[in-house]
């Protein structure tokens, strides 16, 4: 990991949750929430992570931040192995890495005022207390578009979007380098979504942040990220710096892309409807995890696991037949092409 552009690198990260059951509550299985993920995150970029819910996105984010202990693998942050740091070292690391949780209501203590909630990281880490803390908190709140009036209120007095912004302010209090945004817009309505996304982009520029942007909504992720990772059942199946709508190489990605509605009714194309249930992460399918639902599946797919292969320009795909498959054209592709043609 000598590459100085790399802020955080994950190697073969695994996170299994034990599943207890039976009469004596013995461990009867493992939930393979994150299974062998390798990923480099570069300074200043936004890496998007997309996938159906339950595929392990949140677990990935939490494990990276050491909120969960990894089952196996290695996490390197700024050249330092942080997989097993503990105590005050861990707390020091946490200042640098923050997370905005999925549910903004639940991530604020209902009995603590906004001032104290946002100021808590400052207080704990001995950055500021009293009037200085107040001033810093106010500054942060103003940056996310709240005012002094909001300082001494309780979380329940705010709307979902406002709470999300309060959470963002709190994560920024310690001036972190790396922020995991876990579905920051999933609990707000569309009009607020755009505002929040723009705010996050502005903040990224202002603070020089690196984002990991998690969402199950492909268009939102695409709008935000420089590179995009598609997850399926605990694994990354495609990682691309390119426009995913134009060049999906993995059948699963294509299915996701083709399901995104197009704003213009003139464009239509082939859509792949994913059939069947998402298999259980307790007993993931052998070989390619997508094979029970994949329309291109061959015999090899159920026996041999496809590895991530570079298809050029850092476009990684985990499919035996990557690049050889003809998906046909989805409406999204057509639309993207037309938009591009119009622009040029």
């Amino acid at each position: 990991m000598s590459d100085s552009r790399v802020l955080l690198s994950i190697e073969n990260l695994k996170k299994y949750f034990p599943l207890t059951g039976g009469v004596f509550r013995k461990v009867i299985g493992m939930v393979h929430a994150v299974d062998d993920v390798t990923l480099d995150i570069y300074r200043g970029e936004t890496i998007g992570v997309v996938g159906e819910s339950g595929c392990g996105k949140t677990t990935l984010g939490r494990t990276i931040l050491r909120l969960l202990d990894a089952t196996a693998g290695k996490i390197t942050f700024m050249g330092r192995d942080i997989t097993h740091v503990k105590g005050s070292d861990l707390r020091a690391i946490r200042r640098e890495m923050q997370i905005v949780f999925q549910d903004p209501m639940a991530s604020l203590d209902p009995r603590v005022t906004i001032k104290n909630s946002v100021g808590e990281p400052l207080l704990i880490n001995g950055v500021a207390r009293g009037p200085r803390m107040r001033a810093m908190v106010l500054d942060l709140l103003q940056k996310v578009g709240l005012t002094e009036d909001h300082l001494n209120r309780f979380p329940h007095e705010f709307s979902g979007g406002q709470r999300q912004r309060i959470c963002i302010a709190r994560t920024l209090a310690l001036n972190p380098k790396f922020v995991v945004m876990d579905e920051p817009t999933s609990s707000t309505d569309v009009s607020v979504q755009a505002q929040t996304l723009n705010l996050m982009k502005d903040l990224q520029d202002e603070f020089g942040l690196t984002y990991m942007f998690i969402s199950h909504n492909l268009s939102v992720v695409k709008h935000m990220s420089d590179r995009l990772a598609v997850m399926y059942l605990g694994k990354i199946v495609e990682l691309t710096p390119e426009d995913i709508f134009r060049k999906p190489l993995h059948p699963y990605t294509f299915a996701l892309v083709s399901a995104v509605p197009v704003p213009d009714p003139r464009f239509s194309g082939r859509a792949v409807i994913l059939s069947g249930e998402v298999p259980s992460p307790i007993n993931p399918p052998t070989g390619c995890r997508f094979h029970p639902r994949c329309i291109f599946a061959q015999e090899i797919c159920s026996s041999e696991e496809p590895l991530l292969r570079d298809m050029g320009d850092g476009h990684l795909v985990a499919c035996h037949f990557a690049g050889e498959l003809d998906f046909g054209r989805s409406a999204q592709m057509e639309y993207a092409r037309a938009a591009e043609a119009e622009a040029s």
Binding site: L65, S107, P110, R111, T113, I124, H156
Partner: protein, 581 residues
């Protein structure tokens, strides 16, 4: 130090506050000395208590005696050590120049002072010292900080509180409940002043009177004119006499005042007591005239005289106008061989009246109204102490079990399972039975043992669910330590269900205690206690139903009120119902 108005930008202004130099140099060291003193005082008390306990239980025969100064106050001692330790931290912060720590040390010093005050005479001096320190050094220098912080922090809390009151006002049943509970508590405290009779006072002639009947015997205020206990009669006859002025203010009721004598002769040997006569008399005279008159002339002014061997209680009526009386007591002993011990009391009973037995009397002439009110003291004390002890121990065990989890949790849960396998009344029954003696203390102990698992379960469940909440993880993600998470996020969020549970349980414990008392586990017959009163009244149910009806209404009302309040505050505190706009 400049203080501007509130409207400007606070930032610069607050930064500019400077702690006066002298304070800054002197205070931290003084403060740290104080903390160390508090810790060592507390530790000394704790050790003293332990030694005393040890000495009392094991070294009794050796005649070992500990200085009494060191015994007692275990709670205060513990608090002193804990607060002293916490305060030491803020003392260090101050000496490092963290001006903001002044406010927290101010609070803690004030608390230390209050605790010292409760230690009695020994704590008075240090407490005065602490308060002087707080006032002289602290308050002026930190006022501008902590007041601002206080106001800003209390602002939203005050708003929530006002909102709670607003919700409260909209639920009349809760208000009724609160009023009843407050009424019971104040009545229990005021019992000596609002009851005509004591808890165990009985007028045997007034048994089984219906509600509203006036008493057969008058009550009065008493003025002790003369009392002499354990006097020996050596010479006979021996006189004691005195003068009393009776004015119209002593005659506010229609009954005339009386002067009552009571002379009781105890014999230290085996002599026949009939050898002693106690003579008592009252004359309408003043003392000088009395002394100047001859015995035969005095007879003219005699109001009444009584003589009796052992006890004389002459009810001597006195006229209704302001005048002077002389009372005389003398003993005549014949054939005196051993010392006689004589207890003599002379009282003036004035403002006599016949109290009305509002709620009737019981079969032994006790006034039910008075007894019910006195019993409020007893029953409330039992249920409150049970709930408090059970709450404290159960909450501690439950919090530990929930937070640490694992083996400890499994063990605690199995133990509570076992306790839950018994219905409360029946386990308490078995415990009292095993303890041997039947009294209210043992009932309390039994109920404490029976009730703690309830709180252990409530707190554990709450801690477990809070522990999983996202905001706890959020706190962890910003680097909060375990103790901070427990103290400032988990515990505040578990307190409210505890309050609700405790309120409702106070009623439940009261019912169970009364039930135990009813089936014969309570105090000795005659004690003023609701369950026991019902138990004794049940035999007269058909003819004198009030004897068990009124105590039952008393229990029902307080239990109902406590349940209403518990129910109501649950709704008021419930964040789901509370949310607005």
């Amino acid at each position: 130090m400049t203080v501007r108005g509130d409207n400007g930008n606070d930032q610069g202004e607050q930064e500019s506050i400077v702690v006066p130099g002298l304070v800054h140099r002197v205070f931290p060291s003084l403060h740290i000395v104080l903390c160390l003193a508090a810790i060592s005082l507390g530790a000394a008390y704790l050790v003293g208590n332990f030694v005393a306990w040890f000495a009392n239980s094991f070294m009794h025969e050796l005649g070992f005696q500990l200085p009494s100064l060191l015994i007692g106050w275990p709670l205060q001692a513990l608090l002193l050590v804990v607060i002293g330790y916490m305060n030491l931290k803020s003392g260090r912060a101050i000496s490092r120049g963290d001006a903001w720590a002044y406010s927290s040390s101010l609070y803690m010093n004030a608390v230390t002072g209050v605790i010292l005050l409760t230690i009695g005479p020994l704590g008075l001096l240090p407490a005065v010292g602490v308060f002087a320190l707080v006032l002289a050094l602290f308050a002026p220098s930190v006022k501008s900080y902590w007041y601002r912080e206080f106001r800003e922090d209390m602002g939203p809390r005050g708003k929530e509180l006002r909102f709670s009151f607003h919700l409260l006002r909209r639920s009349p049943l809760v208000i009724v409940g609160i009023l009843i509970v407050a009424g019971y508590i104040s009545v229990a405290f005021l019992a000596p002043w609002i009851t005509p009779y004591g808890p165990e006072e009985r007028i045997w002639n007034d048994a089984n009177l219906a509600p509203g009947t006036p008493a057969g015997e008058a009550k009065a205020n008493s003025l002790i004119l003369f009392s002499n206990y354990s006097a020996d009669i050596s010479i006979y006859p021996e006189y004691t006499r005195g003068e009393v002025q009776v004015g119209p203010e002593e005659v506010t009721t229609s009954l005339p005042p009386i002067i009552a004598f009571s002379g009781y002769v105890r014999d230290t040997g085996n002599d026949n007591l009939t050898n002693v006569l106690v003579h008592t008399a009252v004359y309408k005279l003043n003392l000088t005239t009395f002394d100047s008159l001859s015995p035969s002339l005095r007879e003219l002014y005699l109001v009444k005289s009584v003589e009796k061997a052992m006890l004389s209680r002459p009810n001597i009526e006195v006229n209704n106008s302001p005048s002077t009386y002389v009372w005389v007591v003398w003993f005549v002993a014949s054939n005196k061989t051993v010392p006689w011990i004589v207890d003599t009391v002379v009282t003036l009973d004035y403002n006599r009246y016949y109290p009305i037995h509002y709620w009737g009397t019981d079969n032994s002439g006790g006034d039910i109204y008075s007894r019910i009110i006195w019993a409020a003291q007893v029953d409330l004390r039992v249920s409150l102490s049970v709930v408090l002890v059970a709450l404290a121990s159960g909450a501690l065990i439950g919090a530990a079990s929930g937070y640490f989890g694992g083996k400890l949790d499994e063990m605690v849960m199995r133990i509570t399972d076992i306790f839950f396998a018994f219905p409360g009344l029946i386990l308490a029954m078995a415990i009292v039975m095993a303890l041997g003696t039947r009294n209210l203390e043992n009932i309390s102990y039994a109920l404490m043992i029976t009730w703690w698992p309830v709180y252990a379960r409530v707190v554990r469940g709450q801690v477990l669910s809070e522990r999983e909440k996202l905001y706890v993880e959020a706190a962890r993600s910003i680097g909060a330590s375990d103790s901070r998470i427990l103290l400032s996020h988990i515990i505040p969020n578990t307190i409210q269900p505890l309050i609700v549970q405790a309120t409702m349980d106070t009623g439940g414990v009261l019912l169970t205690a009364a039930g135990l008392s009813f089936i014969g586990f309570g105090s000795a017959a005659g004690t003023a206690e609701w369950g026991l009163m019902i138990s004794q009244g049940q035999y007269y149910l058909l003819n004198y139903p009030w004897e068990c009806m009124f105590p039952g209404v008393a229990i029902l009302m307080i239990a109902l009120a406590l349940n209403l309040v518990g129910d109501g505050i649950r709704d008021i505190l419930d964040p789901k119902l509370r949310r607005r706009g």
